[in-house]
């Protein structure tokens, strides 16, 4: 019973992180129809920047226990910095090749990804050694069921992820810029003819996606406290799983990404807890192939037939 509850809790915790990161993939795919391979590297950037901001803040304020606003401040700073990074990446690397064949865009994305990874690895950036983020949230236990602890940190993580997802949902479906995004994702040409400022919409998408990625990186750092170097394969794997979550949920679909993230998180945790722990990656990619075979559009997506 304890194990079931614990696994459920862990599945939700990691699933909400996957969902948050998957949103970035799904938004860019929905609008530009390409896999932004550099997205996971923005997550890493967010994690490392959170670490730097947190250290700076710790040094400046000299806190004993972190004040309640410390986490929020670091989160906002990291999101702002990554939003700027996302904007620059889009303007410098992706905008010049808009309209090029998909393959070229994909290759550019890989280039950006490799660039971010290997610059971050340099000693004068973040270096190759893993580092530890100072505690930002007081890790108090809220309540305990059996042997399962529910801590403030868990609540803060899931709560932040949830709040951001609700915020995004509102933004996409209830604001002007959200309407623009939906229009561009239907047809760039038509949207542009209808007076939607396509460039601004695309930039906004990248800015929002990158900010969400930074939030994902921040929550990751908060949850695991140890951050590995930028070129570590664990980051690529994290990005891949988040992308799988987006595909499983139905790529281009915001709610699908959330559902997919939870599904992948649960699958991973329950697979490791009740089946062989050595095969977690196989479960995830196995699910991807199964979904592509049975329901190519994903759980919430609809299969799109391409037309001229």
């Amino acid at each position: 019973m304890d194990q079931l509850l614990q696994t459920l809790k862990d599945g939700i915790a990691i699933g909400s992180l996957y969902a948050l990161i998957a949103l970035g993939y799904t938004m860019v795919y929905g609008i530009l129809k390409f896999i932004n391979f550099a997205h996971s590297d923005v997550v890493v950037l967010g994690a490392w920047l959170s670490l730097l901001f947190a250290r700076k803040l710790e040094a400046v304020t000299g806190w004993g226990a972190p004040p309640w606003w410390a986490g929020a401040l670091v989160l906002i700073l990291a999101m702002a910095a990554c939003a700027l990074a996302g904007f620059c990446i889009e303007r410098l690397a992706y905008k010049p090749i808009r309209g090029a064949p998909r393959l070229n865009v994909l290759i550019t994305a890989i280039g950006v990804s490799l660039f971010l990874q290997n610059m971050g690895q340099q000693e004068w950036m973040f270096g190759t050694r893993p580092a530890n983020i100072p505690a930002l949230v007081n890790d108090a236990t809220l309540f305990t069921v059996g042997r399962v602890n529910f801590t403030l940190l868990d609540a803060a993580g899931v709560g932040t992820a949830l709040a951001l997802m609700v915020g995004l949902e509102w933004l996409v479906f209830h604001t002007k810029i959200g309407r623009g995004m939906r229009a561009v994702s239907h047809s760039t040409a038509t949207a542009s003819l209808m007076g939607v400022p396509v460039n601004r919409v695309i930039s906004t998408t990248f800015v929002i996606g990158s900010a969400l990625a930074a939030a994902g990186g921040f929550l990751w750092a908060l949850k695991y406290s140890q951050i590995k170097q930028t070129a570590d394969t664990s980051w690529t794997l994290l990005g891949l799983k988040a992308f799988v979550a987006a595909v499983v949920g139905g790529i281009g679909n915001v709610r699908g990404a959330m559902l997919g993230g939870l599904a992948i998180g649960m699958l991973e945790m329950f697979g490791a807890a009740y089946l062989w722990s050595s095969m977690t990656d196989v479960y995830v990619f196995g699910l991807l192939i199964a979904v592509l075979l049975l329901r190519p559009g994903g759980i919430l997506g609809k299969a799109v037939v391409e037309k001229v």
């Binding site: 896999i35 994909l106 050595s278 075979l293």
Partner: protein
């Protein structure tokens, strides 16, 4: 009707090249490959030393990998990111065949190759035949490696190639990772013939070293085999590009919907391209596995290796066979050349991947088709246009002065 058909047949016979000529056309490049491979085998080591020989060998394997990936990524415009997965599968399959085959036949994993294959230095070459019985096993093993990889290519390609192009990227990436995890689950290598005799054959196939890597494979790979197969790969890829299949591939790349409308069965051609590419990657894996000092481990299936191959294909030009081969050479030699190179206090080899990344991005912005585009090194048009451009550049400079 009848007469006109007969006339047509007559005319086509008159236009068709003679049997001798077409035979020459088919065989001549093969002979050229053979001669070149033998020449490399004989000349490189004595003339340039062992380190250079190792590099020439590495280049050969990289050429096979890059050219084979060109068939998918370059010709059909699909995006496979799991090429290293096929490399690993081919390597393990062929390694298992030669290793356990040697144990069964000769009782040990020593090489039984001829003059043209790899051998320990302690073996006196004058006692060897030109082609040894071990070479036959080796070639058989390479084919097994290639076919295993091709079969897996079919399994992976069929579902994902029905879908939009970029799904293939993510499925193949996932495939590479699954291969990696599965290899890690395998058992330790069985060391003696007596033990191997007691183990059923299916179990031998899973006794390939697990996380430690597959060690003890007889080292047959030599410059001869690598460059013979590299030559054949280049030839097949080039012929393919010029065939009706190649036209179909290129049409899919240019516009999938239009080519579908023109009656090209796009899924079928895409799967074909994918399977052929996997086959050659599997063979490259076999060569890789039988090279002295090259560790065949699960890491070989990882996406970092796949990225390396993709970089070669993109730098060389999407769709250019010779371009991919050229880039394979550059990408293999560059890190070696950068060893210990400094610009001021900056160690260049530290920035190797940063340089690659920037090159990729800039290439996509300023020269989206790669260095050569679809052109080949031996296309006259490439050189004439280059010359024209140079002339214009020189003229432009003169004019501004």
């Amino acid at each position: 009707m009848n007469t006109s058909a007969a006339q047509l047949r007559e005319r086509s016979r008159a236009l068709a090249p003679g049997v001798g000529l077409s035979l020459a056309r088919g065989v001549a490049p093969l002979v050229a490959c053979l001669v070149l491979a033998v020449a490399l085998q004989i000349a490189v080591r004595p003339l340039m030393g062992d380190y250079a020989a190792k590099l020439v060998l590495d280049i050969g394997v990289a050429v096979i990998l890059a050219v084979s990936l060109t068939i998918v990524n370059g010709f059909t415009g699909q995006f496979s990111m799991g090429h290293a997965g096929f490399l690993a599968v081919g390597g393990y399959a062929s390694g298992a065949v030669t290793y356990y085959g040697s144990l069964k036949v000769w009782g040990s994993a020593a090489t039984h190759g001829g003059l043209l294959s790899g051998r320990p230095m302690s073996v006196d070459p004058s006692t060897l035949p030109l082609i040894g019985s071990g070479d036959l096993l080796f070639v058989g093993a390479l084919l097994v490696g290639g076919l295993t990889a091709a079969a897996l290519g079919l399994i992976v390609g069929l579902p994902s190639l029905r879908l939009r192009g970029d799904y293939l990227a993510i499925v193949t990436l996932g495939f590479g990772e699954i291969v990696r995890v599965c290899i890690q689950q395998t058992g330790p290598v069985i060391r003696t013939a007596a033990e191997a005799a007691q183990v059923p054959a299916w179990k031998l196939a899973t006794s390939v070293g697990g996380a430690l890597g597959f060690t003890g494979i007889p080292k047959y790979t030599s410059l001869f085999w690598v460059w013979l197969i590299a030559g054949i790969t280049i030839m097949v890829a080039y012929r393919l590009k010029r065939s009706t299949y190649g036209r179909a591939f290129l049409s899919i790349r240019e516009d999938e919907i239009a080519s579908e409308a023109m009656g090209v069965n796009t899924t079928r051609y895409k799967v074909w391209a994918f399977v052929i590419s996997a086959f050659f990657a599997g063979i490259a894996g076999g060569l890789f596995a039988h090279t002295l000092g090259v560790g065949l481990s699960a890491e070989a299936a990882g996406f970092l290796k796949s990225f390396d191959i993709i970089i070669m294909v993109v730098l060389g030009g999407l769709g250019s066979v010779s371009g991919a081969a050229l880039a394979a050479m550059v990408v293999t030699l560059l890190p070696e050349w950068l060893r210990g190179k400094h610009v001021g206090p900056v160690d260049l080899s530290q920035y190797r991947l940063v340089i690659y990344a920037l090159a990729l991005i800039l290439m996509m912005i300023f020269r989206p088709k790669g260095l050569l585009g679809v052109a080949e090194l031996w296309d006259r048009s490439l050189w004439t246009s280059l010359a024209a451009r140079l002339k214009r550049l020189a003229g432009g400079k003169g004019g501004s002065r």
